[in-house]
Symmetry: C2
Subunit: 243 residues, 2 copies
Amino acid sequence: MVIKLMKSHASVRDYKEKQLAREEVDELIEAAQHAASSHFVQAYSIVWVTDPEKRKKLGKLSSNPRQIEGAGAVFLMCADYNRLKHAAAMQGQTIVFDQAENLIVAITDVGLVAQNLALAAESKGYGICYIGGVRNNMEAISELVGLPEGVFPVYGLTVGVPNEANEVKPRLPVEAILHENAYDEAKYKTLLAEYDQTISDYYQKRTSNQKSITWTQQMADFLNKPHRTNLREFLKKKGFLFK
Amino acid sequence: MVIKLMKSHASVRDYKEKQLAREEVDELIEAAQHAASSHFVQAYSIVWVTDPEKRKKLGKLSSNPRQIEGAGAVFLMCADYNRLKHAAAMQGQTIVFDQAENLIVAITDVGLVAQNLALAAESKGYGICYIGGVRNNMEAISELVGLPEGVFPVYGLTVGVPNEANEVKPRLPVEAILHENAYDEAKYKTLLAEYDQTISDYYQKRTSNQKSITWTQQMADFLNKPHRTNLREFLKKKGFLFK
């Protein structure tokens, strides 16, 4: 049943008006928190944006105004070493989080919790969508919700009663993801060509937003230039120095 | 039911001998892949280590010999831009993945897939454990399974039939994680003191490995020094330059 739920996932960007109640948000987050956490640091916070003015600003800043204003709940999924600073201070100590390791740990902690939260919400009939667009304007968004040093929004997550039903997009074949004992790049040429056909068929046949493009084309077009080039400077300001 | 499954999670480090079959691994990974992926880049690969010699070496290199040799399946969850390089090459193009953004995207993609994989396995009665220890010796582990430029192991994941039943560890209270509209650090002092009591009680009463320590003590002791300080240099070699 869990596997069936996973395989039915498709992002939902259009929601009905119903807002999630505090009790339900608590229930979802409490379940999500049971994800594993590296050395039990629990290096994440979730900012639930309910204020209509802030939702409006956040929508603009993350290039998703309609979705963010219309969702049943909007969460900013944040990496967080600030709480750990407070924890150490209670013991008269300070913490070090300026290594690449600390960034990997926090983004991982956020990822495991976020996917649990997404699935918990989907198991209750809600739709969800991750919003990478919050990384377009991390500084302004951090100011909007008052994020201190050691905290940054990795992505947003919208949740709500679906007002649309999207087809499940075909993923890369398992053989293209799974390597046994040794990484094998020789197999990609054939597998990616086959997958291009699958994706091209999918885009042409789906019920809305039809287009004619392959996966390798999409990837080449998207990744031939750098993205969000001001991110590193912002992360440095927040204390993440990648030492 | 999904929420109940999440809330029952406790890491399992001791497994019965049964090895997972290829069909079952395929089923779990196919389900896991349905997690969302930023711009659909699917920037991850999974190396399934079945060779006993490699398992032995991996166990030593990641400071978890007993668990890794004894698990029903051992996966290296890798960030991967190599497949995307091949995809772009098929279109006569090259890709850029030397920004902090690319690192966040790949670690996030790995995290969402990994948590789906963990839950899918748990839904079938398996136990799981994440192995951050693979970051102790990333270079040697990358050589062991032949990871090319653009690929690195973010963590391991062991899966198997549990040979132990661990108590669920109490997480931070939801109030300490969830902030409404604005980040509120004023509340930590009281909440963390209460949580220290909860954790201290848990450690003293649990059935094995009892100890007397609070969460803030653990965190202060662990985070008062840098960890895995050679990570950045290794990631640079793999093409992740954090620009």
